[in-house]
């Protein structure tokens, strides 16, 4: 789960990590009052979760209060388009004003989970302010990585490896070590999957300040961080995805025309691939889970049918824990209740498959029953 920069900076401040003096603004009426209290130069930063906001025009460095106010007027309420948002962009609902700091040097610093090595990796670079993937490609020698055993925590020699690797002067080294230790503790305390500070500024006063802050929290850990869970901002997500999540359904909207409902994530992905291979585009990923019941099937139907692009539905269920007869009853009930008008291909296999097929056949509904997956693929092609 991503959180906003201003939220991440709240966590930083709480942890004792220095961030620029800043104020959050969520309506245009507040702009004048906020700006009058701050000393320029000011950074005006759109608070959106999508990456690439700087290049999209969501961040302005203003030399004067007037310039900052003008920038804020135009950014707040705009549809910000970045490489991660799609053509429609996302609505900027909040702005962060920050006072400029005298930057002597810009560094890059991040901490993340290394899934291959099953440890924590710290990545630092002297090329701050740049896209780290670009640095990794063009000048990999500028990147220093340190792997930390999660059982042993961050050791002094590992911090020194970064300090010497970045050629930090003694006075800066002390503040950097302090920041890194606090950042590592924050990472572990809040079950982060990534924290990134880019740029991390070294000031004239030998301080290190987090000019930006990106924090990703492991969604599976939210049961032990209810306060973080409350930070979840769904406004940039697809409303259908938000609705599906509320019903405990794993749904991702795509731009095709064939909706699908599947039990299990791997089979759901493979089903999307199968739809594509049949020459049509999948409208969604929907995993109703292994323990799905009739109610979840109905909710799944409702979500798929709310997508106006959908022209047909493919249900692919391998009955294990979820028995085919239960699934079939759910499908029939939902189709009746929702007055289903789209063509539906149902492919079931596994536990109680014969009973399931019988229920579908006797329902009197226009449900097309597929034998195996190859048969289902050809039925899908015919459907359109």
């Amino acid at each position: 789960m991503k959180i906003h920069e201003y939220q991440a900076k709240e966590l930083f401040k709480e942890a004792g990590i220095v961030v620029p003096a800043g104020t959050l603004c969520s309506n245009k009426g507040e702009i004048a009052a906020i700006v009058s209290q701050m000393s320029p130069p000011l950074a005006v930063k759109a608070q959106v979760l999508a990456g690439g906001r700087g290049k999209g025009g969501g961040v302005v460095l203003a030399g004067s209060k007037e310039e900052a106010s003008r920038a804020a007027e135009s950014i707040l309420g705009m549809q910000l388009v970045t490489r991660q948002t799609g053509a429609e962009g996302v609505l900027v609902q909040k702005l962060l004003f920050e006072e400029g700091v005298k930057v002597r040097r810009e560094l890059y610093l991040s901490i993340l989970v290394d899934r291959e090595r099953a440890d924590i990796v710290i990545i630092a670079s002297s090329a701050g302010g740049m896209d780290i993937e670009t640095v990794a490609e063009e000048s990999p020698e500028q990147i220093i990585t340190v792997h930390v055993n999660p059982l042993l925590d961050l050791q002094g020699y590992q911090v020194r490896e970064l300090i010497f690797g970045l050629s930090l002067e003694k006075a800066v080294a002390k503040s950097f070590a302090d920041l890194l230790n606090k950042l590592y503790s924050l990472f572990m305390q809040y079950d982060c999957s990534m924290v990134e500070i880019n740029p991390l500024a070294v000031t004239d006063a030998d301080e290190v300040i987090a000019l930006d802050a990106k924090v990703d929290i492991d969604s599976n850990s939210l049961y032990r961080h209810p306060d973080i869970g409350e930070m979840h901002d769904t406004s940039e997500e697809d409303p259908l995805e938000v609705a599906a999540a509320e019903h405990g359904l794993n749904y991702i909207r795509l731009d095709g025309t064939i909706g699908s409902m599947v039990n299990g994530a791997g089979l759901a992905m493979a089903t999307m691939d199968l739809i594509k291979q049949a020459g049509i585009e999948p409208a969604n990923f929907l995993d109703v889970g292994g323990g799905a019941n009739a109610e979840m099937v109905e909710n799944g139907f409702r979500i798929i049918m709310s997508d106006p692009n959908v022209r047909g539905i493919f249900i692919n269920i391998f009955g294990g824990i979820l028995r085919c007869d239960v699934l079939a009853e759910g499908v029939v009930a939902a189709a009746r209740k929702l007055d289903l008008s789209l063509p539906v291909v149902v492919r079931m296999e596994g536990t109680n498959v014969d009973e399931g097929k019988k229920i579908l056949a006797e329902s009197g509904l226009d449900l097309i029953s597929a034998g195996d997956l190859s048969h289902a693929a050809s039925l899908l092609t015919e459907m359109i």
Partner: protein, 290 residues
């Protein structure tokens, strides 16, 4: 012959008195698995059906000689449950639980390094040696005992689909297992492939991967160097949009890494028979394996 479990495996269930625990215990017993004990702290001395329940894994092992554990406890307690099984010295721990925080699994993975316990999962359907022993939540009847095919997968229901097709074309299975859909897991593809290579009864392997990480690429390179048994590979997620987590915590394409296309290419380069259309997997296996 089979890998990791056979007729000597004595199984205990952690979380046996829970709803899921009871249901799947009965399913496994019905399949013929030798379930000797259950563990639910505080319910020691009780029985679930005829199975004795203990307060700890250590006590269950001591009293019943259990050699393997199936873990069916909720995510907040699952990491600890794995460590308890490791500490009690079981040979095999199979963790079905989905949704364990990543940092918990990092600690477990590092904490059990060098210990004798093999962990399968978490977030997996488990392992089955058809006709002999089932430690997992997969539907038993779709399997066909006697080999010659070993199946290893990152998925659950997708594995059932694959097994079902194998059975339909008359290809039985030696052992089928899901290694789990989480970013940090115990047993990986290479561990399973290596065991299949060394298992006399297994004559061919189906490997089912999905987007995210680079386990499939590593496995493909390993196969080219170390295996002389034919391998058919399938990857789910060709149509997955980048940057989105496709249900499984580990199924995400990030910065162009972990794509299905990249994994399929790695498989092809390393001599694996790639199955592009899931509906034709059974037929392809029949052509390649027989």
């Amino acid at each position: 012959m089979a890998i990791f479990i056979d007729h000597n495996t004595r199984v205990l269930i952690q979380g046996i008195t829970g709803k899921e625990g009871q249901f799947h215990t009965r399913q496994c017993v019905q399949y013929g698995t030798n379930i000797v004990a259950g563990v639910t702290p505080g319910k020691g001395g009780q029985k679930m059906d005829e199975i004795p329940v203990f307060n700890s894994v250590a006590a269950a092992c001591r009293e019943t000689g259990a050699t393997a554990s199936m873990i069916l406890v909720p995510p907040p307690f699952a990491a600890e449950a794995i460590l308890e099984a490791v500490d009690a010295g079981v040979e095999l721990a199979v963790c079905i639980t989905e949704g364990i925080p990543v940092l918990d699994m990092l600690r477990v993975k590092n904490g059990m390094a060098g210990k004798k316990t093999r962990l399968i999962g978490p977030n997996c359907p488990g392992i089955i040696t058809p006709g002999t022993c089932k430690i997992g939540i997969m539907p038993g009847p779709i399997h066909m005992p006697g080999g010659p095919v070993g199946v290893v997968s990152r998925s659950g229901t997708l594995t059932y689909e694959v097994v079902h097709q194998l059975t339909a074309v008359g290809l039985g299975q030696t052992t089928c297992l899901g290694i789990g859909g989480d970013p940090i897991n115990g047993t990986n593809f290479i561990d399973c492939l290596s065991a299949f290579q060394n298992d006399a009864e297994t004559r061919a392997v189906v490997m089912v991967g999905e987007i995210g990480g680079n386990a499939e690429e590593e496995a493909a390179a390993w196969i080219a160097k170390n295996m002389d048994k034919p391998v058919v590979g399938f990857i789910a997620g060709l149509t997955a949009p980048p940057g989105r987590r496709m249900g499984h915590a580990g199924a995400i394409v990030s910065n162009g890494q972990g794509t299905a296309a990249g994994k399929l290419a790695a498989m092809r380069e390393n001599g694996i028979h790639v199955c592009e259309k899931l509906g034709e997997l059974g037929k392809l296996c029949k052509t390649v394996f027989i």
